[in-house]
Amino acid sequence: MMTGPKDSLRGALRSLADEARDADLYGPAMRRARRIAHQRAAAGTVSALTALGLACAGLWYLAPPGGRGGPGRAVAISEPAPSAPTPGQPAAALVSPTPRPPVKFRTPPPRQPHPAHMGTATPRSRSLSDLPGRIFYDQQGGQPRVVLLDNTGDTHTVLTAAHSALGVSSDGRRIAYVQDGSLLIVDTDGGAPKRPYHGQVSDEQAPAWSPDGSRLLVDADDPAVLDLADGALEALPLALAGEHFRWSGDGSKLVYATPSCQLKVAGASESSPAVTVPVIGDPDEADNPSGLGACRPISVDATGSRVAVPLRRAGGSVAGSPVADAVANAVVDTASGDADPLPVSGVIVGAVFDADGALLVRAANEGKTTLSLFAPDGTLLVQANEPSGLRGLDLVAYTS
């Protein structure tokens, strides 16, 4: 197109834009801002309930036998529920309430669901007492709390303060959380919270602990790393334009999402360009035929080669939906963009790595919730039932 037609295009666009009518959007924007804040607070509970509902619906797949990880591995993708209409929101903007078929992967191609043939790996132990680490759960809503499950099956409430985002340190000894824009840290053994930074932070970025526990990645104006020893705040390079940053277990990589729900991997200490994870969030239908996207990494393995994410399909959610990306339902290989099959029964309602790369998978199946711990090499170490009192809470961290 030559210069003339481009100028014509400019004029044509301006003329078409003139059709837009003025509107006073202050009131509606304020109401929506309040609704977003409210939905964030409710997100944990709603997403857990949604996941359990999907468990009853049996949305899951079998990967083909002989693939990585052995025969009959299950890959479950939770589809978010459609959000309710809200005043002033046009009907055309709503997600269709029609149930969607389960997500299909480009590679490996899925088979039809067949519960009777779903295979699982055999764990070395079925006792919760053989789980070496500590598991953290989050409950939002009217009675916010963070609960620690130890390997005796006992639960301990380690935080009761209202919080809109949190991160558990790699050793499980400290929790950083955001409360009304303030960043606070509390020991899981008790004590008064401390405020390591006196500016405002956003709960759009959950505080992410560096593996050695000396720094926190927060969103203060922009994503930045807070040195807990001296309070210095160092902004991330501008080139890392993204959100929801997470450190790999060895601290060498940062994995984050773009606003377009792609995933990127960048060196944590070098200025080399970030690498985009293939397929995920790719708007090109030829490259991403299943329309998979991940708007938020939840946790990263030791080296940044795998990331636990809430994997979703295009059009599967509406911005500000109460079904937020709070819970991982898949593990993605950051080199290939493939979702790793996981040998667990039921619907995955949580997945988190510890700093060494061990993976804890939470799955709901036939009214029970199981916890499966995989070693970094994929060996299923422990598979045990989760205490029923944790139902409705979100899995947020596993520390060893």
Binding site: M1, L9, A93
Partner: protein
């Protein structure tokens, strides 16, 4: 209303029109455009405490709006293409009004035939007159992707709107 809220209210009232015009091109519909701008403004309000300068807030609102519209995983909202409504211009000949309206319907239909990202690039480059670097930064994509998407979009528009010059002529006669 405290000072912070008053600043935000001023920001909303002074920027809504600009945002709405771009949003209208992105969505092809008044209600969807208002919904999109509401989303951008609401999220800007959430971040207001961190946006110390007005230009930061402006950039943030634009960025949120484009990301919200482009991302397939967050929303996919565009209008059904319906016949355009004639805008009353009593001083213009009726046939010119009809022709201009028809051309706008064609343009809207052509824009909606583009992918969300292509449409966003077109709006940023040829309506907001942003540079490729600015468009890339706003969309969170590389400059090369902006170039590729822009070229593909122009190719598509060239097919869908072979007589773009005629459009400009019709608008000039309105």
């Amino acid at each position: 209303m405290d000072a912070r809220d008053a600043e935000y209210a001023d920001f909303v009232r002074s920027h809504t029109r600009v945002l709405l015009r771009s949003a209208y091109l992105l969505t092809g519909d008044q209600h969807l455009a208002e919904d999109l701008v509401q989303e951008a403004l609401a999220r800007t309000h959430r971040a207001w405490g961190r946006l110390q300068h007005a230009e930061h807030a402006t950039a943030y609102a634009h960025k949120v709006m484009y990301h919200a519209q482009v991302s397939m995983w967050r929303r996919r909202r565009v209008a059904e293409v319906l016949p355009g409504t004639l805008v009353e211009r009593p001083d213009a000949p009726t046939e010119d009004l009809a022709e201009a309206a028809a051309q706008r319907v064609m343009l809207r239909r052509a824009l909606l035939a583009l992918s969300p990202k292509q449409r966003a690039v077109i709006v940023l480059r040829y309506f907001e007159d942003r540079t490729e670097a600015e468009a890339a930064q706003l969309l969170g994509i590389s400059i090369s992707t902006v170039k590729t998407q822009g070229a593909r979009a122009l190719d598509r528009l060239r097919i869908l709107l072979p007589d773009l010059r005629a459009f400009a002529d019709a608008e000039a006669r309105r």
